[in-house]
Amino acid sequence: MEVRPELKYTEEHEWILISGTEVTLGITDFAQNKLGDIVFVELPEEGTIIDADETVGNIESVKAVSEIFCPIGGEILSVNKDLEEEPDLVNSAPYDEGWMIKLKIDPADLELAKLMTHKEYQTFCAED
């Protein structure tokens, strides 16, 4: 499984990329592999205000439906509209074209968010 050092990870297998007050979120390579072929991704409306650890959408694969959690609260700036037509981007490029949402955050909130480094996440997945 692939992890990237520049990203932070959650126990629910999301990754986030922090860039100032903007955060990009997606699911990890480990998660897409476990889910199998993804057939549908449901994402929130742009402009929605969300709380930390809230469900922001659903991912449907041929095997299961699972929820997308966001480890930090904020305002949804944009969602990846390409996933409507090509949900398989999450399988083929989970860290790139398969990104899900971008949101505006208060960087002070990051201190409270439960996040792992890529090394910690690797260990976490090995135990799972």
Partner: protein, 487 residues
């Protein structure tokens, strides 16, 4: 040769593709009134013709008869669909339901009539209450899912009546029956997932932390969908009650409890039965079903009306129910199904029902014993109940998945087990043989599954070959579904 294999398999076109010009099944008499043209009658509201297929009667009959022959049923072969209890439907129940006095009964018959049917329903209510340890039972719900919804509505009515409207959430263990969260959502309750402990059972500490004054109750499936009996069920119910919540028991797995233990005794306040999963009525599949709901006395005032009562030796409906939530179904519920359930219960009797449960659990554990050296069995330390859970962990090393094994079983003439459910177990196969299967059937099925597990991915990926429909592209079908026929 395996029993379920289809003989003649045709490519069956759609009726739209079969239709010809000016063919018809019924010849209508010539019109003896002046004909008004469609345009004259409807003017600008006239829509384009729906272009329905034109076919003769035998063409239509053959089309649907051929399609029906593609059905796989318990009358044709082994159907070990875990979590769904596919029981053999005894033919005696069909005879009972077709007796004239039942089949011709009319719900608008005069007051005081239909006594035979009402007596049967009254007895069934009492039998179900005795079997489950509840105080009374409502037969109205038209399906298990309908029963779930009613049960949750009763829980809401109970809290509202106490003046407690803050309880808007319901706890649902991750090993619960799959319909529970949607029933909760339709009842405007937020479903909160309760994670199982490492042994696959409800963890009392986690429950303790999550049980607060917002929680209306808990929806428990017992045995749970991992096929395990919740050993701490009494403590779980006591804890929920102590914090003001109620306990809903999903009766999907009653086939492992009838005559052995009673939900009412271990703490359930409300439960539903799936008559098709426990009392051998035909599986609904969208057709008429029945999901009777049993309650403890605290919920009785809220039951839908009318309720059956016995007065002066006659069974009648009582509509005088001031705290009732109202009606959930017209007339008496799906009586045809309820007659079959009564017949099953009365033909087996108390000892027979207990034996049914013991045989169901024995059969599942026999399959577990045959398969556990060949497949990974999660939570192996617990005895299985009426279904056995396997995974594809060992076969995965050989690139063979649960899906491949399921397709291989179709080729071998079996209905596959439930796959990839419960979600908490990766690559799950949930196998439920039920009580009616013989040792020979179980031996043959286990042998088939073991042999499939030894095959390579390439060989299995080509299966099924001889079924009416071969291996379908599930990913494509989900990503780009074709939902409308176009010429």
């Amino acid at each position: 040769m395996n029993p379920g294999k289809a003989g003649l398999v045709f490519h069956e076109p759609l009726l739209f593709e079969l239709g010809g010009q000016n063919k018809r099944g019924v010849e209508l008499p010539e019109m003896d009134l002046p004909i008004i043209s469609d345009e004259e009658l409807l003017g600008g509201n006239l829509r384009q013709s729906p272009n329905l297929p034109e076919l003769s009667e035998p063409e239509v009959v053959r089309h649907f008869t051929r399609l029906s022959q593609w059905n796989y049923s318990l009358d044709g072969g082994f159907y070990p669909l875990g979590s769904c209890t596919m029981k053999y439907n005894p033919k005696m129940a069909e005879v009972a339901a077709n007796l004239d006095g039942f089949a011709q009964a009319h719900p608008y018959a005069p007051h005081g009539s239909n006594q035979g049917l009402k007596r049967l329903l009254f007895e069934l209510q009492n039998d179900l209450a005795e079997i489950s340890g509840m105080d009374t039972v409502c037969l109205h719900p038209a399906a298990g899912s309908h029963g779930e919804l009613l049960g949750l509505m009763l829980i809401r009515a109970y809290h509202n009546h106490r003046g407690d409207s803050a309880r808007t959430q319901i706890l649902i263990p991750d090993s619960a029956h799959g319909t529970n969260p949607s029933s909760a959502s339709i009842c405007h309750l937020d479903a909160i997932t309760l994670p199982s402990g490492p042994d696959g059972l409800i963890d009392l500490n986690t429950l303790d932390q999550m049980m607060n004054e917002k929680i209306a109750g808990i929806m428990i499936t017992n045995p749970n969908t991992c096929g395990l009996f919740e050993e701490r069920i009494k403590e779980v119910c006591d804890l929920v009650h102590a914090r003001g919540g109620l306990v809903y028991l999903d009766g999907a797995n009653m086939n492992a409890m009838v005559g052995v233990t009673r939900p009412g005794d271990f703490g359930a306040d409300v439960l539903h039965f799936n008559t098709h999963k426990t009392f051998a009525t035909p599986h609904g599949g969208g057709g008429p079903g029945a999901g009777p709901v049993g309650v403890k006395a605290i919920l009785e005032p809220f039951l839908p009306k009318p309720v059956l009562v016995e007065r002066n030796g006659k069974v009648e409906w009582n509509n005088d129910r001031p705290r009732s939530i109202g009606k959930v179904r017209s007339f008496y519920g799906n009586v045809g199904v309820l007659i079959r359930a009564w017949t099953y219960i009365r033909s087996l009797g108390p000892k027979g029902l207990r034996q049914m449960t013991l045989n169901a659990v024995t059969n599942a554990n026999y399959l577990k014993a045959l398969l556990e050296d060949h497949f990974e069995v999660p939570f192996k330390q617990h005895r299985a109940m009426h279904e056995v859970l396997l995974t594809d962990k060992r076969q995965k090393e050989n690139h063979v998945s649960t899906l491949d094994l399921a397709k291989g079983l179709i080729e071998a003439g079996y209905h596959p087990p439930t796959i990839y459910f419960p979600l908490v177990v990766e690559g799950a196969m949930l196998i439920e043989p039920t009580e009616t299967e013989s040792k020979e059937t179980l031996d043959q099925f286990a042998q088939t599954l073991i042999e499939l597990g030894k095959k390579g991915h390439d060989e299995l990926a080509a299966l099924p070959k001889t079924a009416a429909v071969g291996r379908v592209d599930e990913v494509l079908a989900n990503r780009k579904p074709i939902l409308r026929w176009e010429a």
